[in-house]
């Protein structure tokens, strides 16, 4: 049985029909990439799973339990973490507080923070600075670390490399590869090279519909299979 199953969801923003019957599944231990051009509904798919933009119809199940209709905090408590596209750092909380807020109450603060600081040592140097005072790359590291230290069975990761310098992309990529060894991940990523390096399977989304899917084995970023739907 899949850990996450999305079945024929239809999501709207006002009267705009964004997702038109999206279905996908993620098995336990897998990394699945969701790729496609800008504005085709990738982020909306993640928001629909989290019930931040609840689908009007269709079903989302996680580990056999229905998520549709739950409040987002209950979805998160079920074991789904989110690393959003625009980082969403709490600007007026320090780096350490941004991390502490993501820790489950049962986790010792010191243990949780040490995991984050091992992954990104730069965060420890800035632990008392406000999140809003960090550079874009540091904020991205903080966002990824915040997602990794939660007690999550499934991570929804949205464009982790967007707008970052190559050196930071490499560090974030290494952290995600390490996370992939122990977590299940649904990854939205424009950087096809990074997505294919990490993912076991992929889905291609185009104008609110899944148009292709399969294993990433043997595929490269410039494959004809992607060129039609992913290249700008």
């Amino acid at each position: 049985m899949s850990l996450l199953t999305v079945r024929d969801i239809h999501t709207y923003y006002g009267e705009s029909h964004i997702l038109e019957g999206v279905s996908l599944s993620v098995d336990r231990g897998e990394v699945v990439a969701l790729v496609g051009r800008n504005g085709v509904g990738k982020t909306t798919t993640l928001r629909s799973i989290l019930q931040l933009s609840p689908p009007r119809s269709g079903r989302v199940t996680f580990d056999g339990s229905e998520l549709t209709g739950l409040d987002t905090h209950a979805v998160a408590q079920a074991g789904i973490g989110w690393i959003p596209e625009d980082r969403r750092i709490f600007d007026q909380l320090t780096v350490a507080e941004n991390l502490r807020v993501a820790l489950p109450p049962s986790t010792e603060t010191a243990d949780g923070l040490s995991v984050a600081y091992e992954t990104f040592p730069a965060l420890q140097e800035h632990q008392d600075r406000d999140g809003g005072d960090l550079s874009g790359g540091q904020q991205q590291m903080l966002a990824v670390a915040r997602g990794l230290i939660g007690d999550n069975e499934l991570l929804l990761i949205d464009e982790p490399s967007e707008g970052l310098a190559p050196l930071i992309v490499e560090r974030v990529g290494r952290a995600l590869a390490r996370a992939a060894e122990s977590s299940t991940i649904l990854l939205v990523e424009q950087n096809l090279g990074l997505a294919l390096d990490l993912a076991d399977r992929f889905y291609v989304l185009d104008t609110g519909k899944i148009v292709d899917s399969g294993s990433t084995a043997g595929l490269s970023a410039d494959s004809d299979r992607f060129r039609r739907y992913v290249s700008a």
Binding site: T72, H73, F90, R100
Partner: protein, 336 residues
């Protein structure tokens, strides 16, 4: 005539800069600042963290004054001994904070939560209407029990212990016990709010939820419950402010206390910057000090007791002209 006036002001200036007058004005200012911070802290918490402008805040302060007064009258009676009166006060703290906090929680859950997604005007109209209802309810109830609603409740005032009615020598001057008590209570309140927001996990959730409610929810925080707790905390603090005023001859428990406290609360919150606790503390000290200084001047040099209140609004105008967002204000508040 003009020479006489100049002489009067020169004499007043000389007596203002004596150690006795300066220490007296300093402590008077701190006592007023404590009252302002008590009155305004609940309002600023609710606005800063939730974005809700609560026009019923003054009415909840008035409820706190009457409820606290009732506890004091029942326990202490007409002939207060110091231990019984102080014990009664701290019992009243628990009762008022608990009851007003519960009332606030119910109001947020039942009335305010359903209109979070509507424009701010809905919240303003709702809380304004709520203030009218609470004020009329208080007027009916106190009149029914034979208490004059527009005058201070003397039975509650008379429960003040002798220890707070005396004056105490402090360096070059002597200070009223009630002022020292108000300063101590104000400091405790500020310390409590600071500790709650910065030293507890729930306080961390509150600050995260107020900055970005959606992200906080995605991290597993029940933001709705957090907002209910904050509203309850805000109304509980409003009630405690009322309790503190029930012993103060200048205020006392009365129905008009609702409007009398709402206005300075808004002035302090606006001067400090809408929704910042630090701004409210600084603005309370600023307003309290200016109030104490002008009160001294208009009592000692110019007999015109209404003028100190005018200065409160003058500070508001000056701050808004120079810094429209207030001393520590930010452009956007509230996390939902």
């Amino acid at each position: 005539m003009i020479e006489q006036g100049v002489l009067l002001y020169t004499d007043a200036l000389a007596s203002f800069f004596t150690p006795e007058a300066l220490v007296s004005v300093l402590f008077d200012g701190l006592a007023k600042a404590s009252l302002y911070v008590m009155i305004a802290s609940g309002l600023t918490l609710v606005f800063g963290l939730m974005g809700v402008l609560n026009f019923a805040h003054g009415s909840l302060t008035m409820f706190g004054a009457y409820l606290g007064g009732l506890v004091l009258v029942l326990i202490v009676g007409g002939s207060p001994t110091d231990p019984v009166a102080l014990g009664g006060f701290f019992l009243a703290v628990v009762v008022v904070f608990g009851a007003l906090g519960l009332l606030g929680g119910v109001l947020e859950w039942g009335l305010i939560r359903p209109i979070y997604d509507r424009p701010p005007l809905y919240q303003i109209l709702l809380t304004f209407g709520l203030a009218l209802i609470l004020d009329e309810l208080a007027r009916i109830v106190v009149s029914f029990y034979g208490i004059q609603p527009i005058a201070s409740w003397q039975a509650a005032l008379s429960t003040k212990p002798a220890i707070l009615g005396r004056t105490y020598d402090l360096g070059p001057t002597s200070l009223p016990g009630l002022e020292l008590f108000q300063i101590g209570f104000g400091l405790l309140t500020v310390g409590f709010i600071w500790a709650f927001l910065t030293q507890t996990r729930y306080g961390l959730y509150v600050r995260a939820g107020s900055q970005d409610a959606e992200m906080a929810r995605a991290l597993g925080i029940n933001v709705r419950r957090v907002f209910t707790v904050i509203f309850a905390l805000g109304t509980g603090l409003a009630g405690l402010a009322g309790l503190l005023l029930a012993w103060d001859q200048a205020w006392g428990a009365s129905v008009p206390l609702a409007a009398e406290t709402l206005l300075p609360a808004f002035v302090v919150v606006i001067i400090g910057g809408l929704g910042t606790v630090r701004g409210t503390v600084v603005a309370s000290v600023l307003v309290g000090m200016v109030d104490a200084i002008t009160t001294w001047w208009f009592n000692e040099a110019i007999t015109f007791t209404g003028l100190p209140e005018m200065f409160l609004f003058l500070i508001l105008v000056i701050v808004l002209a120079l810094k429209p967002q207030g001393l520590y204000g930010v452009s956007e508040v509230g996390g939902h």
